[in-house]
Amino acid sequence: MLVKFRLNGEEVEVEARPNEILLDTLRLKLNVRSVKRGCEKGECGACTILLNGDPVTSCLILTPQVEGSEILTVEGLEEDQEFKKLVDSFVSEGAVQCGYCTPGFLLTAYAALSKGKIRSVDDAKKYLEGNLCRCTGYNKIIKAVVKAVS
């Protein structure tokens, strides 16, 4: 079936099967490679996207569900000042190691920051609990996010 939605500010139309997950559509048909395939069960956050402003895991969404929606990935935030500040914070705090989880973390953190949800280390931990990282041990990521609030 034909599914229409906005991806990073642009209208896209894509032919998708009813049993196709959004993660596959984004990666394989629309070439959005920042959205990573992790667990495919909604547990690791690597495939996080922003759907109408909310962070969600694209592995648990059927593509036809997003008809008429607004989807944002890191590719669409390159010019965003707040996002740049967050990226700088990740870089200066050393919050990136292998990088596989980074896009998901950035999107979740960006959503939390823009909704004004982060006021403390505990807030950061709470809102980022759906993103797993196998390298950093989280401390540097949490630090980077809290630093980006100021």
């Binding site: 009813p18 997950i21 596959d24 495919e40 909604g42 956050g45 759907l51 059927l62 036809p64 008809e67």
Partner: protein, 296 residues
């Protein structure tokens, strides 16, 4: 690609009437997609194999939180995160706010719905204990009729509900009362602190008059085939003086109300032990919230 979803028919539903029409047509061959956070996993691991998916994730008329003065009415398709962020729920039923903020991760809460969490009927459903404590009701509707049942009657077994195949859970009614929401607590124990399935969770609300328990409500998940009320604990305490010793004695009685199993998360023996501890701690925490300072 580790998982694939089998071929399936997909229908995007735009309103409640259309959903009821399609349900009466397809019956048990249809699966409703509310938020999809459980359904998609089930489809991937082959736990269910419906002929058709009725996608209700875009249906707006079942997404609301309304304060009726003595109860809050929550539309079944309301996102869990919407309930967590609702000022009305926080003011009138903070136990529900507290419990639902522990459901899944932020990403899951942004997709998952209250109705979906209940209808998935997991023994570990996070929404169940607070709703049992509030003695909430479920409004079920079909093309033929609408009926209201207790949440306690809705979940009948692991992944089993009282819903007929033509019925839909459309609303959850959460009665509230000022006194009960002053002394409440929710304690969730998982294998870790964040984004975890419940090993045992306890929801508690108490009403104290003249230093005596007037009303006590205790509910647990993950310790029986369905989430349960701990009526032995409750009835022991009602009428008793608010004393730490009484709370300790009452907590032991939870063993009469639960039938835990051993699974990948914990042994039955551990669950029995920790249920007693959590019931005690949750009661003490609820009492402290209401200003009680006794009991060491």
């Amino acid at each position: 690609m580790f998982y694939s979803i089998p071929e399936v028919e997909y229908i995007r539903v735009s309103n409640l009437d259309e959903a009821l029409q399609l349900l009466s047509q397809y019956g048990p061959e249809a699966k409703i997609l509310a938020g999809g956070t459980d359904l998609l996993v089930d489809l991937k691991v082959g736990r269910c194999r419906p002929k058709v998916i009725l996608d209700m994730s875009g249906v707006k008329d079942l997404r609301y939180i309304i304060d009726d003065g003595d109860k809050i009415r929550i539309g079944a398709l309301t996102k869990v995160q919407e309930v967590v962020e609702s000022p009305v729920v926080k003011a009138k039923a903070p136990l529900l706010t507290e419990a639902l903020s522990e459901l899944g991760s932020w990403q899951v809460r942004c997709m998952a719905t209250v109705g979906g969490n209940l209808c998935n009927a997991s023994p570990a459903a996070d929404s169940a204990p607070p709703l049992l404590v509030h003695e909430a009701k479920a409004k079920l509707t079909s093309k033929q009729k609408t009926r209201t049942i207790k949440i306690e009657e809705l979940i009948t077994g692991p992944r089993k509900t009282a819903l007929q195949s033509s019925e839909l859970l459309c609303e959850v009614e959460v009665p509230y009362d000022e006194e009960l929401t002053r002394a409440y607590s929710y304690i969730k124990l998982g294998r870790r602190n964040a984004f975890t399935l419940s090993v045992v969770s306890v929801a508690v609300a108490v009403k104290v008059v003249n230093e005596r328990f007037k009303d006590v409500r205790v509910a647990l998940n993950s310790v029986a085939p369905t989430p349960v009320r701990a009526r032995s604990v409750e009835s022991f305490l009602v009428g008793n003086a608010v004393r730490r010793e009484r709370v300790e004695e009452a907590s032991e009685l939870v063993l009469k109300d639960i039938m835990p199993i051993s699974d990948v998360r914990a042994s039955a023996e551990y669950r029995r032990h920790v249920s007693k501890v959590l019931v005690r701690d949750a009661l003490i925490r609820a009492l402290r919230r209401s200003g009680w300072v006794g009991g060491g």
